[in-house]
Symmetry: C2
Subunit: 448 residues, 2 copies
């Protein structure tokens, strides 16, 4: 098992750049079709593996408009992508986003178990409740699930999937050629789940995977989102602009997890961060200014519509007070929409000021020379603001500034690993292998 | 484009053996966990590619009972599997089974388009309407769809998926770094489909794939199944015990396709066949007898229940007339169940005789020395009984008897290819690249 107090490292592979990264694809190092080129993902994953990262991370979206960020417009499906990466890597974890809103638990369970078997125990599932309200239209629904239903479904979905992963005890397949015994039916267990959102009989059609259960990642900052994370997440993808915010989030999640009877140490906080690294601090600040200058105001204005169900903000006067958009957003990214409305209200912002604030909020707190960035990451880590970071990977040479510049400093100080401790994601993250529910039940029964 | 009159070759990769192949897993060459070992599939696919096969083929099932065949009990999800195979092969097609009964068209469309992009144009979709009635319970339904609904859904599902594959015209992503144009929104098209079974707005979140649309495979012998195949299939997986059966099936499908306004040449007939090859005809016949002798009567009796919704036949007297099972099977593999009932009725068979007949019906018509088998395959092919064959792959040394013994003879005669003609499955099968519906529409409009 790993040293639990070493910094966890994830690499978010975005191809041509995600929300707010309007011009990333213009980088000469990034092929315009990076988001649909499997060789791009395999090469970046191999680089992250060489730097002993814990995992690569693939985001997702299933609702597209002409205004969608480049990366969402045209992308590979996360698990199809990760399965190809699995067979060209050996140690790095493979975390894919699959929504609980528009997937059947049976399909999710078998696909993730398959990835876990193919990768020898490196699969992770980033559990999301779909935010884009328009997604409903791609799945035969007139309207997206309301907020409470979305989170109710998410929790029940994960519990069903985990139940299906326990369909077979570890020794259900003796495959004893001498005795002619392939399978022991007494170690196969149907689920017989009947719940508010799902009914699933089971059993699954795949053995228990090398990790017992793939690692559960989750994101979500609302009260409901935090509660879901505290209930089921083993790693939480969040964001943090300051150490204090990070600490408060980590403390809140750990308290919620403890209140649910979980060991709070088994919930890792791993925010997504972007880095701006140059040879000197001054050069890094220049670079950060140039990056900010290249942001595209018009596209940020259009993207502002996303949390509000792709509300069209281009029709308003930019210099009038932030418009009243009614309940737009109630069935989309509600927390984010509420936060923007509050920001405008509290500060009396115009629409232009809100967009500008959004552009500014994409600023990274990790700007500087390799030494400065290493020091800052260590400071946050030691202050308990996070257990690890998910680093956004764009141009390979920029990623190399982190792997070859920052990481050696942290490695020297014992903050990050020198070698993988395990060949599974769970092993490297220092998370326990969950016991099969059926075996556990029998053990409890026997000890009475 | 390929010579259309060369024999097409598919390899059905079953791991530890499919229905009726009870003891395949005992073969010392086959690891007991072959069905969940990605290295097994990659190695077999590479062997098939070295022999210039058109494609590998992965079957599927989502309903499990303790009596399920070994291969179904514990298996990798087909597309997760094929994505891993894609990045360790370069020319061979990758055909995966996905049911239209329990998958959303949006998810199917993006997963197959992703596989097509990852493989550089080698994806195929084996379209099925789920037969196992019990599958319903794994997807929150009290009862499986009735027969007509199942086939109505299948047809509409495929049309929706194909519509989604046309969401972007081929030049929708200029990715012109000099002009700063990533995307041309005028070449993105929502689907806005509202049908009896599905409503899907679109557009898809992935560009048109290298084949335009992945190749559609289909199986199904009922009237509804043949009609579906004639409507949408580009290759039909069937079975044939005699040349005459094969010819009749091929003629029927081609007539139905022509009646639907399709070019019948664009529907390939590729039955699954098993081969028994030895150095001499006499040795091959001995081998076939030994294989038959190793069949497991008790497990065949249990598997007989599958088409009847896993009806339990073990509770009947084996030597009494075939039991009246009422409407068991109406919501499962109806055609197969009806055929078995008719067989028993027409011949006055007991249950034991029906099981024995099933065991016998697994006999291969392709038994003999490499020369005999090559002659027989050529005879069927030239008689129009099939356009190609899907060969079941079990032990590698047996597969080598086909690739190294039979194929060189057929290659010498010009019946099979020496080299791949193309790097896409469509190209190698000699199937045309479908035009994007939106581009076609505009061309028709312009010519008026």
């Amino acid at each position: 098992m790993t040293n639990r107090r070493q910094l966890k490292l994830g690499a978010v592979l975005l191809g041509v750049g995600g929300p707010g990264q309007h011009n990333t694809w213009l980088d000469p190092e990034i092929p315009g079709d990076a988001s649909v080129d499997i060789r791009w993902y395999i090469a970046r994953a191999q680089e992250a593996e060489a730097a002993k990262f814990d995992h690569v991370f693939i985001v997702d979206s299933q609702f597209i408009t002409p205004n969608s960020p480049n990366h969402y417009l045209n992308r590979l499906e996360p698990l199809t992508l990760l399965s190809a990466v699995a067979v060209h890597t050996t140690h790095i974890g493979l975390v894919g986003t699959l929504t609980t809103s528009y997937n059947d638990p049976f399909n999710v369970a078998r696909r993730l178990a398959s990835l876990d078997l193919i990768s020898g125990g490196r699969a992770g599932w980033n559990v999301v409740a779909t935010g884009d309200g328009g997604t409903a239209g791609n799945y035969g629904r007139a309207e997206h699930y309301d907020y409470a239903t979305r989170y109710g479904r998410a929790l029940e979905h994960v519990l069903v999937v985990q139940g299906l992963w326990d369909s077979y005890e570890d020794d259900a397949f003796p495959r004893d050629k001498e005795r002619g015994v392939f399978f022991d039916p007494s170690k196969q267990h149907p689920l017989n789940h009947v719940g508010e959102h799902f009914s699933v009989v089971g059993p699954l059609n795949i053995q228990r995977s090398p990790q017992g259960r793939p690692v559960i990642f989750q994101a979500g900052d609302s009260d409901e989102g935090r509660d879901l994370g505290a209930s089921i997440a083993e790693a939480i993808f969040t964001h943090a602009q300051t150490i204090e915010q990070g600490q408060a989030f980590a403390n809140d999640i750990r308290a919620r997890a403890a209140a649910k009877g979980r060991d709070p140490e088994n919930v890792l906080i791993v925010p997504g961060i972007s880095l701006v690294i140059a040879d000197t601090d001054a050069k890094a600040r220049d670079k950060e200014r140039a990056l900010r200058g290249s942001k595209d105001f018009d596209r940020a204005l259009r993207e502002l519509g996303r949390p509000f169900g792709w509300h069209d903000f281009t029709r308003y006067d930019l210099d009038a007070p932030f418009p009243d958009v009614g309940d737009a957003g109630d069935r989309s990214f509600r927390t984010q929409a509420e936060r923007i409305k509050k920001l405008a209200r509290d500060n009396g912002y115009t629409l232009r000021q809100v967009v500008q604030h959004t552009l500014d909020s994409w600023r990274s707190p990790f700007v500087g020379s390799p030494l400065t960035v290493a020091n800052e990451i260590q400071r946050w880590f030691e202050a308990g603001a996070f257990d690890g970071v998910n680093v956004t990977v764009n141009a390979p040479s920029e990623f190399a500034r982190f792997t070859d510049g920052v990481l050696p400093i942290l490695r020297e100080r014992g903050v990050v690993r020198r070698e993988y401790e395990a060949s599974t994601l769970r092993g490297n993250l220092g998370l326990p292998v969950p016991e099969n529910a059926h075996t556990a039940k029998r053990l409890i029964g026997a000890s009475r």
